[in-house]
């Protein structure tokens, strides 16, 4: 990472992360989370200002609590919640994509096909999230006497690892696939143009050094190995 040109943005991050909060606090909008995370500070602005259209309140808690661990906030850059990934996910659920409109969804379905033959479930993304979240919350209630969202961070990490590896078996939902769907969509939201609701203020782009929609390097290709000095711009013209 080049030191000089990006140092202002680094300072921005530090400022933001002082205002923003450790992960657990972002559960603040959920009644359960509020009672169980007594040390919570105020929820981040990104989470606060957006009301989900698709996700129910318990689902919304799950989403925030999960993506908060997939991409946690720290000094490297914004966490997924601060970056608006939950908003991104909710908006995607309402989009053609969320309705499965980009996928071939005619039967018959053969969900037990080899994984290498690709997605073969009946679920559209929004159905997959609905089923998956409910099933995982059920499992957490049985195992931990708590919803996923109300678990402390280290226990949420443990559950996510078990989903990722497929160690948790759920009746209706293939856990590895669900986890992969969640992680894929989370990274999409983190790195997509901010107009989709995630990557607020292009924080994820600033973190890695991607100039976003600048898309013009004719002068720079002839300066091989030189650090690129400009921060990102978004499609709508936001600069950072």
């Amino acid at each position: 990472m080049p030191s000089k040109p990006t140092s202002p943005s680094r300072r921005d991050f530090l400022r933001q992360s002082m205002v923003a909060v450790p992960a657990v606090t972002l559960l603040g909008t959920s009644a359960i989370a509020q009672t169980q995370s007594g040390t919570a500070a105020a929820p981040s602005a990104a989470a606060e200002n957006y009301s989900p259209h698709y996700f129910t309140a318990p689902e919304w808690d799950f989403i925030k609590a999960a993506v908060d661990r997939l991409i946690p906030p720290n000094e490297d850059g914004p966490g997924a919640v601060e970056a608006g990934v939950p908003e991104f996910l909710d908006r995607q659920m309402e989009a053609v994509y969320g309705h499965g409109g980009l996928w071939y969804m005619q039967g018959p379905f053969a969900p037990d096909s080899p994984a290498t033959l690709g997605y073969q479930l009946r679920f559209t993304p929004r159905e997959f999230y609905r089923k998956g979240i409910a099933a995982i919350d059920d499992w957490c209630r049985k195992q931990h006497n708590s919803t996923f969202a109300a678990l402390p961070a280290d226990q949420r990490d443990a559950v996510l690892h078990q989903l990722e590896s497929g160690d948790i078996k759920l009746d209706d939902v293939p856990t590895k696939l669900f986890f992969a769907q969640l992680l894929t969509n989370t990274k999409e939201g983190y790195f997509a143009d901010p107009m989709y609701g995630g990557n607020k203020h292009m924080g994820a782009w600033k973190m890695i050094g991607f100039p976003g929609a600048r898309a013009d390097y004719a002068d720079w290709i002839e300066q091989p190995g030189k650090t690129y000095p400009f921060g990102p711009v978004s499609i709508k013209g936001e600069e950072a």
């Binding site: 499965g100 890695i208 290709i221």
Partner: protein
């Protein structure tokens, strides 16, 4: 059924090959009609900046791709398996709308090696027929490199291809590809400037005795006016190329090379939202009378025509021939029949190359093809295959096509997929990572083919195309050999770390992983109606007024990107139609 006024020539699908056919036949004065099932698309307003710089919409959700919800293909590994639908994009990306895959390609613009076109004869002569596995059924194209050379050149000059000749009229030129067949003229444009990752690769490759050269690229390196008077702009290395349209008018596409002229010809007509369901035959079954299509409102339309050019994507061409009953469907048990025969793909591998923070790769400064560097020592039959025991090969590429973070961000091996460690690795690696890629051939085999799926249907109720495909040992050996060479070069780049993606023995073809959209075969050209669907002019052996363009004609897949060869074969076919067929309609080659 609505019956439209007859036309002289009807073309099915309006991408690269139909645009070439259209412009090459337009001066005959014939009435030419292109039926395109998608919509009209043009640089403005469809690919303009800044909305084009949208990774989610184009790179991930696939704005430019055929909507799979309406039509996909099915896939199975073996002839006795039940196929399942390709429900989401992964392995390959089907084009859509006017321009087709010619919009979202990278512009990697290659010629075949001379031996690629006579591959069966060449390999049998050099190594003996027994060198090939018994179930491998590679064939010759029925066209030699020398015959095709003027047409390959014509396509490069249309596109404003940027590159450096390695063989000018038999003289080997420093800095070009010394393994290429002789070309009569230099590329129309000089190479695009190397990206930094590519220049590190080039230095390493050169130090090992290889002959690196700039990848031939239809990303124009400077303003260029093609022979039709259509102007392309200089590529600005925007990093949004494959999967995207080009807002700079730099990437050659039908829109940036032909359509501004063709669309104004009074004898040419384009009808969009016209989905062809069948090629119609007369009572003898030896002559096509036109096509039927479904128009935008859903009406059935009959379109009579004297000549039918099947110019859709490779898979759609094969499907349409099967749906229309032209030619004998291939039977993998007997090995007889030709339609659907010799489906092939390509075999890729990657070595990701991670540097320390003092090496600013800046991966976002990249074009789809221009600026990357190639070595071609291990492609085609550029090396003695005898000791290695496999057929085919591929090129090795250094550099990158962009740094779009959802799809192209790489983290070092051993990094978890999420959490703080992933985040730290993403932050530390992004600017300092490039890649070495191998781009390998896949041969054709008796049990790898296309037919109609017995179960799954498209939105109009027609059967989907079914692909029967999996890796054979030959390709797994090939990719191991090629990847080992790629790894050696990557190591010589002195990186901090590398990681490898390679298909290993026992691995199935994984349709979730993008490799290439270079699917081939199904309506192959060749020297005999017993073994091929088309003659050397891409004319159906069975129905002489049907021509089928595109990579469906490839008898096996080569180690290069297909578009250059597709263009050359199309120009050759267009010339034969114009100069010979129209005067004497009938078979251009006697069976």
């Amino acid at each position: 059924m609505i019956r439209q006024k007859p036309v002289d020539v009807v073309m099915i699908g309006f991408g690269w090959t139909a645009a070439i056919m259209g412009i090459e036949l337009a001066d005959t004065g014939l009435n030419i009609l292109a039926l395109e099932r998608g919509a009209w698309r043009d640089t403005s307003p469809d690919f303009t900046y800044p909305h084009n710089a949208d990774e989610l919409a184009y790179g991930i959700r696939g704005e430019l791709f055929q909507p799979l919800a309406r039509e996909t293909v099915t896939i199975r590994y073996g002839v006795n398996d039940t196929a399942v639908p390709y429900r989401q994009y992964g392995s390959f990306l089907l084009g859509n709308n006017v321009g087709g895959a010619g919009i979202h390609w990278n512009g990697q613009h290659y010629r075949p090696s001379p031996e690629d076109l006579v591959f069966q004869s060449h390999m049998a002569q050099r190594y003996g027929q027994k060198f090939m596995p018994a179930d491998m059924q590679i064939q010759d194209y029925g066209v030699t490199y020398d015959e095709l050379e003027p047409f390959l050149e014509q396509f490069e000059y249309l596109c404003g291809t940027s590159g450096r000749a390695g063989n000018l009229n038999g003289e080997i030129k420093e800095g070009g590809n010394p393994f290429e067949g002789p070309r009569r003229k230099e590329y129309p444009n000089p190479p695009v400037h190397d990206n930094y990752g590519a220049s590190l690769f080039a230095n390493a490759a050169r130090s090992m005795g290889y002959k690196p050269f700039p990848q031939p690229s239809s990303n124009a390196s400077r303003p260029y006016t093609n022979p039709h008077g259509v102007r392309l702009g200089p590529c600005n290395l925007c990093g949004y190329c494959e999967r995207f349209g080009c807002f700079m008018y730099s990437k050659a596409s039908p829109q940036t090379t032909i359509l501004p002229v063709l669309m104004r010809k009074p004898n040419f007509e384009l009808r969009t939202h016209s989905h062809v369901t069948k090629i119609l035959l007369d009572s003898t079954g030896k002559r096509a009378t036109g096509v039927t299509y479904i128009d935008a409102q859903g009406r059935q339309v009959e379109q009579p025509a004297d000549v039918v050019i099947v110019s859709a994507f490779q898979m759609h061409n094969a499907r349409l021939m099967l749906l229309s009953g032209i030619g004998t469907p291939y039977d993998p048990v007997t090995g007889k029949g030709v339609i659907g025969k010799n489906y092939a793909y390509q075999m890729m591998s990657n070595v990701n190359v991670f540097f320390d923070k003092d090496v600013a790769i800046n991966p976002f400064m990249a074009a789809g093809s221009g600026g990357n560097v190639i070595i071609d020592e291990f492609n085609s039959d550029h090396f003695d295959h005898g000791p290695h025991g496999f057929v085919g090969g591929g090129y090795i590429l250094g550099g990158q096509t962009g740094g779009r973070p959802i799809q192209q961000l790489l983290v070092p091996p051993g990094t978890p997929a999420w959490g703080e460690k992933w985040k730290r690795a993403a932050k530390d690696s992004y600017l300092h990572t490039t890649g070495v890629q191998t781009h390998g051939s896949v041969m054709s085999y008796r049990d790898r083919y296309l037919d109609l799926d017995p179960t799954y249907k498209d939105a109009f109720g027609q059967p989907l195309l079914r692909i029967t495909f999996d890796w054979h040992d030959n390709e797994l050996k090939m990719t191991r050999f090629l990847t080992d060479r790629a790894q050696e070069i990557a190591n010589a780049m002195k990186p901090k770390q590398t990681s490898q993606t390679i298909r290993k023995p026992g691995d199935h073809y994984d349709i979730r992983q993008y490799q290439t959209t270079h699917t081939t075969g199904g309506v192959i050209q060749g020297v005999s109606p017993e073994t091929s669907a088309l003659n050397r002019f891409q004319q159906s052996w069975d129905v002489h007024n049907v021509f089928v363009t595109g990579a469906s004609a490839f008898p096996q897949n080569l180690g290069y990107n297909p578009t250059g060869l597709i263009g050359g074969l199309t120009y050759m076919s267009a010339k034969a139609i114009r100069d010979t067929y129209l005067k004497h309609p009938g078979p251009l080659v006697q069976a």
